[in-house]
């Protein structure tokens, strides 16, 4: 390690910037690495001072919010400072009339959403863990849920951003208005950069009127082909649902609350165990008046096997948003991938999942945005036969090998030991050398999230 100063003197210097109580120890692990210190600055300027110090002393910094997505990515080389944004947690400005809001990066998303809810507005993002996940973390990870189908994701709502670079500069891009082309689009650059370019400290969003009424139509099919044919008919129809989700047969098990853990010796099933599900589902969520929803019911006709409303509907979409968490809650060693696919490659990617998983003794399960190609794929190990690290690696490479050209698929979750055997990010159609050049331009000493992201 090239750290020039002792940990004690670093902690002293950090405390001089942020205050005594704001430097702490932690036992929180990020892919097996425990950060040496947790530092919680109280202002963007303090973030700047911390980063400047880290930059001078070659300390590796991991920006952090609600800690909901820290396990995504490669194994960090080391983490000298976990830079927590949780003290930057204010709604800075909210003008319901303009449909814009400015918030500090450490604010949990749900707090912003409930503030917007007072005026029947929202930012249409339904990623997971929004009670804890912060604005900055959601931006940095480009997080999204089923609403991405129509509304896009954080990059499409973010109209202004403030961040701090490793040389301590507090920088902004964009502004507070919904249309703006002055300067480079730094919002797009920072969204999905996984804390590897700069520390996001504030963001401005355009917000939307929240739909007053929605209804969900579950349509079940005997095969993937039938489900995809139905999707094609939907594309050709005048219907404009706000979510269009595809659910694989194996996923149904995770779209409900986990059962309480049983004592294995106390085996007393109440019901006969049902046969495994074989259905593929396309699930649509539509917004509008009674009249509009009646049109959906009419057009969808007999394809609909179940209609959801109210609390049951909210719960269902909550399960979809938390599919990955549902899988991991039951199978700690499951592997989860996020895909980026052309619309017509959704079918081949799901087939690749269904075919590769059994070859490695894994059970396939998937949900995802059928209209945008953003799928969440789970490879679930059998509890009787936990896979070896190499098996994960081989499974990923077999799966990726079956994806059509132009696709990309990053491994969001898998046991840390497996990550040493393959590249969690994989290939991407975007020029990686150019990404690295951008990284070098803004973090030349590579102190931010070293080893975690693709750059």
């Amino acid at each position: 390690m090239s750290t020039v100063s002792s940990p004690a003197s670093v902690e002293r210097d950090l405390a001089a910037i942020v205050g005594e109580g704001q430097v702490a120890r932690t036992d929180f692990e990020i892919n097996g690495v425990v950060p040496a210190a947790v530092v919680s600055p109280g202002s963007p300027e303090e973030v700047g001072a911390v980063l400047r110090l880290a930059n001078e002393r070659d300390l590796v910094v991991a920006p952090a919010g609600g800690l909901t997505k820290q396990q995504i990515g490669g194994v960090p080389e080391r983490i000298d400072i976990l830079l927590s944004t949780t003290r930057l947690n204010k709604v800075e400005e909210y003008d319901p009339g303009d449909l814009t809001i400015a918030v500090a990066a450490g604010l949990p998303f749900a707090e912003m959403q409930s503030r917007l809810g007072e005026h029947h507005q929202w930012v249409p993002c339904d990623a997971a863990n929004l009670e804890r996940a912060t604005i900055g973390g959601l931006l940095a990870t480009g997080a999204a849920g089923p609403l991405k189908s129509t509304f896009g994701h954080m990059r499409d709502f973010c109209i202004g951003i403030q961040f701090v670079t490793t040389d301590g500069k507090v920088v902004k891009g964009g502004g507070r208005v919904v249309k703006n082309v002055a300067g480079y689009d730094l919002m797009k650059l920072l969204t999905g950069s996984y804390g590897s370019l700069a520390v996001i400290t504030r963001a401005n969003f355009k917000v939307f009127p929240r739909p007053r009424q929605t209804r969900t139509f579950v349509c079940a099919f005997h095969s993937l082909d039938e489900a995809l044919n139905f999707r094609t008919r939907l594309f050709q129809s005048p219907l404009t649902p706000m979510c269009m989700e595809i659910v694989s047969p194996g996923a149904s098990e995770y779209l409900r609350n986990p059962e309480p853990a049983h004592d294995p010796d106390d085996y007393a099933p109440e019901q006969p165990v049902s046969l495994p599900a074989v259905e593929w589902q396309i699930v649509l969520r539509a917004a509008g008046s009674d009249n509009v929803l009646a049109r959906y019911a009419r057009e969808l006709g007999s394809a609909v096997t179940r209609t959801l409303e109210g609390a049951a509907e909210e719960q269902f979409w909550g399960w979809i948003s938390h599919f990955e968490q549902g899988v991991l809650a039951r199978h700690r060693n499951a592997m989860v991938l996020y895909t980026h696919l052309a619309i017509q490659n959704v079918g081949p990617a799901l087939q690749a999942l269904e075919r590769t998983a059994p070859d490695y003794n894994l059970i396939p399960a998937a949900v995802g945005r059928a209209a945008t190609g953003n799928l969440v794929l789970a490879f679930v190990p059998l509890s009787v036969d936990p896979p070896s690290a190499m098996q994960y690696a081989n499974c990923v490479s077999a799966f990726r090998g079956m994806l059509p050209a132009g696709s990309s698929a990053e491994v969001a979750q898998c046991p840390t030991e497996a990550k040493l055997h393959f590249d969690v990010w994989g290939t991407t159609p975007t020029d990686v050398n150019m990404m690295r050049a951008v990284k070098r331009a803004i973090d030349p000493k590579n102190i931010l999230n070293r080893g975690r992201f693709i750059v």
Binding site: G97, D98, L99, G152, V170, V181, Y184, N374
Partner: protein, 481 residues
């Protein structure tokens, strides 16, 4: 331009693809904005490989290159400074692929915006961003400027519709960013690149999203006796929960100007009109049309007309989209502004523009994307009169100062280019700009591509700009402060 350079350019692109005679170069010294500079040569590339070879040559010889599409830009982005090569992409104008199942089209940069929508309409799709110049402007230029248009209110601007780019870097290297997928693993360089105004690379192939044609469209014309009422309606519609596909405003002066030009049935005695379009499923549109009409009437609209057929609808839009041209009929020169303000500030800003108009004795017509607060005041002047010319620039600066005071932006869709470069320091700090320069240098390290555009030279900008005038904000009758 050095004759050996010209020879090499001809060798790369062909003899008929290089212009160097003064009378030819004159045609390339301006765009649709106000600045003028004559380039050293114009070369028309026909392939990515040619673009790459031209860039390699220019990099070696350190000759600046300015990429250009149709030259319809309003901020001087496609104007060469010094002895630069203008690299025209206008001949790379093929639609390479219409991929309906994937809802994508792959086009060369010189494809005209409207031609893509025309080509895809038979499949039930169109290309959503619709700048007013869409009959002429190219998609490559739209990518450079991140162009908007009236119908980007609900559907988003160019960046929301581009998923893939092939880019030639200044050293001639060809790279790919994104593709047909909505997004891809890693940094979103596609999104970052859009709107970089030709300062990062030259786009040679573009993958765009195609949007399903709506089942139903309703076009409403709200007619008002005062500008304030129209402006208040914009605020009220925004808050009502309806997001129209387009929400445009024309003031009385513009209405008369446009009506004289296209005879679309715009009421010539109105103080302002709102052109409102609603799109989507029939039931949704019908409900929204009712709701929006009610809001208009509540906000004291004199009348709300519904376009009765497609012909009338097209005529109303023709009026809106040719508004700048209509002004050309009545004024020797005009200066198009492009400022953005928070939507609730539309009434105050219009009052301020009125004050500026009176102060300088210049007519200022207003036609703009009211729904997203993107103003386009047109300042009329006679360029033969130096006093008027000077005043038009002063008035423009005051309008921009007003936008900034309200927390707005100096450009919503026309770009910074040459025109607004001096104003960048009013919106961004030196640190902001320095980081932008560093990022640009990752793509364009020697600033061979479109030099001295968009991001001002940090050491000189203060002296050039000077302080902005302080706007006086008068209370507006009927509008709570």
């Amino acid at each position: 331009m050095d004759s050996s350079i010209l020879r090499q350019l001809k060798k790369i692109a062909g003899k008929d693809a290089v212009l160097d005679r003064p009378e030819e170069l004159m045609l390339y010294e301006y765009d649709a904005g106000v600045d003028k500079h004559r380039p050293g040569a114009v070369v028309f590339a026909q392939t990515t490989q040619q673009v790459s070879q031209i860039m390699r040559l220019a990099s070696e010889k350190k000759i600046p290159v300015v990429p250009r599409g149709a030259g319809t830009g309003l901020s001087g982005g496609a104007i060469a400074r010094q002895q630069a090569i203008v690299l025209s992409l206008a001949r790379m104008n093929k639609i390479l692929e219409i991929d309906v199942p994937n809802q994508r089209a792959v086009v060369q940069p010189g494809v005209v915006n409207l031609e893509l929508s025309n080509a895809t309409a038979k499949h039930g799709y169109y290309y959503a961003p619709d700048p007013s110049s869409q009959k002429a402007c190219t998609i490559g230029g739209n990518v450079a400027e991140n162009s908007g248009g009236p119908h980007t209110l609900a559907l988003g601007v160019t960046v929301n519709h581009v998923t893939g780019l092939e880019v030639v870097l200044p050293d001639g290297k060809v790279i790919e960013l994104g593709g047909k997928a909505q997004d891809s693993t890693g940094l979103d360089l596609t999104g970052f690149f859009v709107g970089s105004e030709g300062t990062m690379g030259i786009v040679t192939r573009i993958t765009v999203k195609l949007t399903k044609l709506p089942e139903h469209v309703a076009t409403l014309l709200g007619i008002y006796n005062t500008v304030e009422d129209a402006a208040n309606t914009v605020v009220a519609i925004t808050q009502s929960g309806v997001t129209p596909a387009a929400l445009e405003m024309l003031d009385g002066w513009m209405v008369r100007c446009v009506e004289a030009n296209v005879h679309a049935g715009y009421p010539e005695d109105a103080a302002a009109v709102l052109l409102i379009e609603l799109e989507g499923m029939r039931e949704v549109v019908e409900e929204q049309a009712k709701a929006v009409s009610a809001v208009c009437l509540q906000q004291k609209a004199r009348e709300v007309r519904h376009a009765k057929d497609e012909k009338q609808r097209q005529l109303l839009w023709l009026g809106r989209k040719t508004a700048f041209g209509a002004v050309g009929r009545v004024s020797p020169s005009y200066y198009t502004q492009d400022g953005v303000i928070p939507r609730t500030k539309v009434p105050y800003t219009l009052a301020e523009i009125e004050r500026i108009s009176k102060h300088y004795g210049l007519i200022i017509g207003n036609v703009f994307h009211a729904g997203d607060g993107n103003l386009h005041p047109l300042i009329l002047f006679d360029s033969r009169d130096p006093k008027q010319t000077e005043n038009s620039r002063k008035a423009a600066k005051e309008i921009m100062a007003c936008c900034l005071k309200f927390g707005g932006s100096i450009t919503g869709e026309h770009g910074v280019g040459l025109e607004k470069m001096g104003l960048m320091t009013a919106m961004f700090t030196e640190d902001d700009l320095e980081v932008m320069v560093r990022l640009r240098n990752a793509f364009n390290p020697d600033s061979i591509l479109n030099p001295q555009k968009m991001i001002p030279d940090l050491h000189f900008c203060r002296e050039i700009t000077g302080p902005l005038p302080q706007p006086k904000v008068e209370p507006v009758a009927g509008v709570p402060a």
